[in-house]
């Protein structure tokens, strides 16, 4: 390939990477943690812990008792869900085993959809977005695709960022393709730290390439499906697609028209038996009734199907007769549901069984964190490659990019650790916690940005890194004090222990990075935004 062509692709790779690097860092760091959303949820929400205890010992009831209590309560609405406890895991085989089950429904209040949960028969409804489930895990997931911006705007912004990320990835591939294997085995660990960072950036990029390609495709589908549907209609079908009927693409079966005629409903065990007749391998995770108690009521039964990439499956039955209305099963998938099933399975690591699934999730966590490192190191490399070696003053743009990178990336890390601490320290199911868990992230980000702006870049970086290490280390310590020490949680709640362990490892990583950054500032090459005192260069070959 000609040198001029390589230069154009390098320029494209650099600018698309630089403009999106910080946002992608947030997406990858928060996304890697979101793989363990249920575990973070359990870690942050003591009420769920209490329920877990109760689930093992007391206050047990059947799914049908949960449904009957709800339909006889003043909160009854004909459109509601039955789930297994707060974890949205599977309902028991046969639908009869006593356990802990939840009823969920939503209603529109002042144009906003408000969700409610009831966690035991006769219990008071609790607003879903209040403290019933952990705001911490939900907010980290929101950060993953909105960066804390208003949800719709943030989602579309991340869609646009993903496009540029795809371009950065493809242009990087073009640049490195001629020496892909060489790059993989080239790791120059020596006195020149810039070469080390460059090699680390390339190796991680090459090794995780399939993972990143998959994320480009799935993220674009998740963030910009509506744009893609409208674009397909406009460019390929002359705008003939009826936009008001987009929802029909994703229906398991058409929902019957509402009826006022009352009818007897099949109970939960009978619905389960009917599902097993249709598909014996189907594992039910939730039941969604449409128009409960009426002649046209439908029960949309969702669950998992084993040994399939599209693990999500659905069967829709007539809720009063049990007649099959439609199914979304392997081999007979609705194309749109199959596509979204594959996308969701791949993007959120929801495939595999048993140990395999755990390994998949762990690899997603590691590759996600490495991806975050890739974007952070990309920005550092840009600054170091363009360093003015013989000038004591570095360009303002370098200082600005260094500050933006540190504030955005490390501010996110600090904010997430701070919001986990807030969730742990404030009383559960309090409005105070509901408000302050997200605010803790904004606070961490703003504090990092302000600190990095006020301090010299190198000093601000080292100090924010130490702050990240200390606050992240406080996460397992707070859990040990408030909930239970790690030697107990390792036995009783392995997921909670895992959150503590990852936080501890990250804290050690941040501390080591802070120490390395401080060493580089004092002993590394001068005339850099990362050096403590600019001075005339004396030995060019020294470390970065």
């Amino acid at each position: 390939m000609k040198g001029a062509t390589i230069k154009r692709f390098t320029s494209l790779h650099t600018w698309t990477g630089i403009t999106t690097g910080v946002l992608l860092f947030v997406a990858f760091y928060a996304g890697a943690l979101t793989v363990y959303k249920a575990e973070i949820d359990a870690w942050a929400n003591p009420v769920v812990h209490a329920e877990l205890e109760a689930e093992r010992t007391e206050r047990l009831f059947t799914p049908q008792q949960a449904v009957e209590a709800f339909i006889n309560s003043p909160h009854f609405t004909p459109d509601f869900y039955l789930f297994s406890s707060r974890y949205r895991t599977h309902l028991p085989d046969g639908g009869e085993t006593p356990g802990r089950y939840a009823i969920y429904w939503s209603e529109r209040v002042d144009g906003e959809r408000v969700g409610w949960d009831v966690f035991e028969p006769g219990g008071q409804p609790i607003q879903s977005n209040a403290a019933t489930t952990s705001q911490a895990a939900n907010f980290i997931e929101l950060l993953h695709f909105t960066m804390g911006l208003p949800e719709t705007f943030g989602t579309y912004l991340f869609g646009a960022v993903t496009l540029l990320y795809g371009v950065a990835l493809l242009s990087g591939l073009v640049i490195h393709l001629p020496h892909l294997v060489k790059d993989l085995f080239s790791m120059r660990i020596g006195s020149n730290l810039k070469l080390f960072w460059q090699d680390a950036h390339n190796v991680i990029g090459v090794l995780s390439l399939p993972f990143h390609l998959m994320f480009v495709v799935t993220s674009l589908v998740l963030a910009l499906t509506l744009v893609a549907i409208l674009g397909t209609s406009f460019f390929t079908l002359g705008n003939q697609f009826p936009t008001d009927r987009i929802g029909e693409l994703y229906e398991v079966a058409p929902h019957p028209a509402a009826s006022d005629t009352p009818a007897d409903m099949l109970d939960v065990p009978t619905l389960f038996a009917r599902v097993k007749e249709i598909q014996p391998d189907f594992t039910v995770s939730s039941i969604h009734w449409h128009g409960y108690g009426t002649a046209t009521a439908a029960a949309e039964i969702s669950g998992d199907y084993p040994d399939s990439l599209i693990s999500s499956a659905d069967i829709q039955l007539d809720a009063s007769t049990g007649a099959l209305q439609g199914a979304n099963l392997p081999g007979a998938h609705n194309p749109a549901l199959a596509a979204s099933g594959v996308v969701v399975s791949l993007h959120f690591a929801r495939f595999g069984e048993g140990l395999g699934r755990q390994l998949v999730r762990l690899s997603y966590l590691l590759l996600g964190l490495l991806g975050a490192f890739l974007f952070y190191s990309g920005n550092l490399l840009w600054i170091e490659t363009r360093r003015k070696r013989r000038n004591t003053q570095q360009p303002h743009l370098h200082h600005a990019l260094a500050r933006l990178t540190v504030a955005g990336c490390l501010g996110t890390v600090l904010g997430i650790s701070l919001l986990l601490l807030t969730a742990k320290l404030l009383p559960a199911e309090s409005l105070l916690r509901a408000a302050w868990v997200p605010n803790a992230w904004y606070l961490g980000l703003a504090a990092s940005a302000a600190w990095v702006l006020l301090r010299p870049v190198w000093r601000g970086t080292v100090e924010v890194l130490w702050a990240c290490a200390v606050i992240t280390a406080a996460v397992p310590i707070a859990n040990a004090i408030i909930y239970m020490p790690p030697w107990q949680s390792a036995l009783i709640a392995p997921g909670v222990f895992g959150v503590d362990l990852v936080a501890l490892l990250l804290a050690i990583g941040f501390a080591l990075t802070a120490r390395a950054a401080a060493r580089r500032a004092h002993n590394g090459q001068p005339n850099s935004v990362w050096a403590d005192t600019p001075r005339l260069a004396t030995h060019e070959g020294a470390s970065l």
């Binding site: 001029a4 062509t5 154009r8 692709f9 320029s11 494209l12 496009l163 795809g166 371009v167 990835l169 493809l170 242009s171 073009v174 480009v216 495709v217 674009l220 589908v221 910009l224 499906t225 744009v227 893609a228 549907i229 674009g231 397909t232 406009f234 460019f235 390929t236 079908l237 003939q240 697609f241 009826p242 009927r245 029909e248 693409l249 194309p335 749109a336 199959a338 596509a339 996308v343």
Partner: protein, 93 residues
């Protein structure tokens, strides 16, 4: 670089949708599946078309290649639609 950039972002957008629909059209699936394939892969293909524009040495060449590719894909897709290989998903016609 501005020529390649504008060619990639502007002319690359219709090219992405047209090329994916064209590739999907001869596949032995129902129209709904082909429509879904276009929805899923058009935007990833947009990344490819943006990047491809930078293979051209000059901006006007990038525009030339992109417009020509749009014309070819558009014409072939028109034929595919006339043959009934591509169109509105079943049930939505």
């Amino acid at each position: 670089m501005w020529g390649q950039t504008t060619a990639g972002f502007l002319a690359g957008l219709p090219l992405a949708f047209l090329s994916v629909a064209l590739l999907a059209s001869p596949l032995p699936f129902e129209l709904k599946t082909k429509f879904t394939l276009t929805v899923v892969f058009a935007l990833p293909m947009y990344c490819v078309t943006i990047t491809a524009a930078f293979a051209a040495a000059r901006g006007y060449k990038a525009w030339g290649w992109m417009l020509a590719a749009n014309l070819v894909c558009g014409a072939l897709l028109f034929v595919a639609v006339q043959l009934g290989w591509y169109g509105l998903p079943e049930g939505l016609q």
